[in-house]
């Protein structure tokens, strides 16, 4: 007996399989034709794919938690790249001075607001039994204002970035080392009493932190890499601010996820145009990072920076995987993705957890933006295209699946690069969208479907 639905499904599979076979045959033919070039294209595919994978990872993380497409991620990618440009203008070729006090003040304000909100959400309820509300508000406000002023200083003094940021880096290093030392000692000597362990870890932490701080303060060449961190953090802070300021109230009332999509489209539009106003719309270069000298390997040019990019993508993937699978935060994130209402009932502070997700997502996007900016050049419109590539990669890989995001990102990069072997390079956007439409038509669940 003819099985109707099954027949349709099988027809789709046959089409998909034949398409894949044709593509594979093409690649094999190309490789046998000129193996040297194949290595070069494969490497390019991997390094472009790494950027797409990073974008798709953040995108997927956010999408599989809140189930709407947040187009702010395009803007976050552009902000990541332009953040580096903003802080390191003096090092770029023919860069004029773009450092603008209003822009710095705006972002300082955003940072202060986010810090204030984070402090409120994480400490207010716990401390309100011990202190009066008024004193808590004052203390939190002062702390947030101090952070804001500090970030304002950092943003307005890009030339002294290393000096200004050294205490922050030192503090972060100190806390990290302190926690690690504490954990290790407690694991090794489980009978040890708490006070000496605490003292040892505090001392070790502050020593290491101080050393790191001094090291950074005396190394002006670290400014570029510090600017990476700053732009990622700022993009993340803006992501959190948007989530708290817009999406929280929108999601309560929205009839469809398109509301958030359109709102984030507005955000993207506004930020892209504002970037073009502040930095002009012409393409700009970013300062040269390490590893921009190509090596020759099997007849192809390979840049160390691209290998670094691939490494970042893989590290980002592993880190995210570790976060989601092995930590309690990851479990709550997945719980919210499965059913937000239930998560709320169980007592998870969904607003805070989702804010963290938005932060991580925006940091991934910003990282992808600045890495691709170092590789090529930056322009205000770059965000939109990067966003679309990340979106395509996550569809190709399988919507809402982390493994899928990585596979989809690298697959998209490879297809683009091998696709332009015979066509000219300017057709690569067309290739990726054709790939998207093919996937949606014949393989709508992607390479690795979710669950």
């Amino acid at each position: 007996m003819l099985r109707n639905a099954a027949y349709r499904e099988r027809r789709g599979r046959i089409l998909a399989a034949s398409l894949a076979t044709v593509a594979a045959a093409y690649v094999v033919w190309k490789i046998t034709e000129s193996p040297d070039q194949a290595v070069q294209f494969a490497f390019n595919g991997l390094s472009v794919g790494a950027v797409y994978a990073l974008l798709a990872l953040g995108f997927t993380l956010v999408y599989s938690t809140v189930w709407f497409f947040d187009l702010y991620y395009g803007a976050a990618a552009a902000m990541g790249a332009y953040g580096v440009f903003y802080l390191r203008t003096s090092e770029t070729v023919g860069g004029s001075h773009v450092n603008n006090p209003y822009v710095s003040a705006l972002f300082a304000l955003v940072v202060a607001g986010v810090v204030a909100w984070v402090l409120y959400e994480s400490f207010f309820i716990r401390l309100q039994s011990r202190f009066t509300h008024k004193s808590l508000y004052i203390a939190g406000g002062l702390l947030a204002a101090a952070t804001g002023i500090y970030s304002g200083f950092v943003l307005t003094n890009p030339d002294n970035l290393h000096v200004l940021l050294s205490p922050a880096v030192g503090a972060v290093a100190a806390i990290a080392v302190g926690l690690v030392v504490n954990g290790v000692i407690q694991r090794l000597f489980s009978e040890a009493s708490r006070t000496p362990v605490l003292v040892v870890s505090v001392v070790a932490g502050s020593l290491f932190g101080g050393y790191c701080g001094l090291l950074i303060a005396g190394a002006p060449e670290s400014r570029l890499y510090l600017s990476w961190a700053v732009s990622c953090l700022v993009a993340g802070a803006v992501g959190v601010a948007l989530y708290r300021g817009l999406y929280v109230s929108m999601r309560k009332r929205a009839r469809s996820p398109l509301i958030m999509l359109v709102a984030s489209l507005g955000v993207l539009l506004a930020i892209t145009a504002a970037t073009a106003i502040v930095f002009e719309s012409a393409p700009r270069p970013l300062p040269t990072a390490f590893g921009s000298e190509p090596w020759t390997l099997w007849g192809s040019n390979i840049k160390g920076f691209n290998i670094f990019t691939i490494g970042v993508a893989i590290a980002g993937f592993l880190g995210l995987l570790l976060l989601l699978k092995c930590t309690s935060l990851g479990r709550t994130i997945r719980a919210i993705g499965d059913d937000e209402e239930v998560a709320k009932v169980v007592g998870i502070n969904t607003t805070v957890v989702i804010a963290i997700v938005f932060f991580i997502g925006a940091v991934f996007a910003a990282a992808a933006g600045l890495l691709s900016g170092h590789d090529t050049a930056i322009q205000p419109r770059m965000g939109l295209l990067l966003l679309l590539k990340g979106w395509i990669a996550s569809v190709v890989g399988g919507m809402g699946n982390l493994y899928g995001a990585v596979v989809g990102g690298f697959a998209l990069g490879m297809v683009e690069q091998f696709g332009i072997w015979d066509l000219a390079g300017e057709w690569k956007d067309v290739i990726s969208f054709v790939l998207l439409i093919l996937f949606l038509s014949f393989w709508p669940r992607g390479l690795l479907p979710r669950g």
Partner: protein, 252 residues
């Protein structure tokens, strides 16, 4: 088990070994039932027994995985949703699916107008369609509300409007998916009245309900399902007299 007769005279709708599975779950598993013409048939069974899936298969909302649907003696392997009114079938939904952001009036009008593209472009509400809409809106007691958006109605009103929308379509077979769920007594009586009226006009009704009093009161024919399979089928009174059915599945 009823054997497929293909008898369009006696049965408005029949299914022969129809099946539908979602992943590994067999929602409907080789079901063969016959729905007698001009009578009210009720499908009962516990939650997840495949009652709604059956209606979705009969109305083409879900493609058949296997089996045949017989409509008026015509055997069909594929039921396309847009062809169901032509086959004399229409339905309501368990989760009321009105056209939310258009008016109550347009909700009824839309099922009466031209189906073909070009004539639909040239058509602007014929008087016959208007009269029919008014008649339907009055019969479900929604005439005063005709200008408000469907989304602004109360749940009971929405349920009634949906039944009215199905009734506006002048067909032989009506599939009502839980028409009584969540209704106040007054509305309940109204829906019962509408269904009796349809029966008196000689139409066939298939409905799903969990309310045993209503099942007893309304249905002429009863289909009892469990896990996608037919448990028993027959004259309502006879089925309701089988103690094991009542004990095991109806809980009365």
């Amino acid at each position: 088990m009823s054997t497929p007769t293909g008898d369009g005279e006696r049965f408005a709708l029949e299914t022969i070994e129809v099946a539908k599975h979602f992943g590994g779950v067999h929602a409907v598993d080789g079901l063969s039932v016959a729905i007698p013409r001009g009578k009210i048939t009720c499908v009962v069974g516990p939650n997840g027994s495949g009652k709604s899936t059956l209606i979705n298969l009969l109305s083409g909302m879900l493609p058949l995985d296997d089996g045949i649907v017989v409509v008026d003696g015509v055997r069909l392997r594929v039921v396309r949703p847009h062809e169901t009114p032509g086959l004399g079938i229409t339905r309501t939904f368990q989760d009321v699916r009105l056209f939310d952001q258009i008016s109550v009036w347009d909700n009824i009008m839309v099922v009466l107008t031209e189906r073909r593209l070009l004539p639909a472009l040239l058509e602007r509400g014929k008087s016959g369609q208007r009269e029919r809409t008014e008649q339907i809106l009055r019969s479900v007691g929604m005439w005063e509300k005709r200008r408000s958006l469907a989304m602004d109605l109360s749940y009971g009103q929405r349920k009634l409007l949906e039944i009215g929308r199905a009734m506006a379509l002048n067909v032989n077979t009506y599939l009502f998916d839980e028409p009584f769920a969540g209704l106040f007594p007054q509305m309940l009586e109204r829906v019962k009245g509408l269904m009796r009226q349809l029966r008196s006009e000689g139409r066939t009704i298939l409905f799903i309900s969990h309310n045993m009093d209503i099942v007893r009161e309304l249905s002429d024919h009863l289909i009892v399902m469990d896990s996608g399979k037919l448990l028993t089928e027959g004259d309502a009174e006879e089925v309701l007299a089988q103690p094991e059915v009542i004990e095991a599945y109806l809980g009365v």
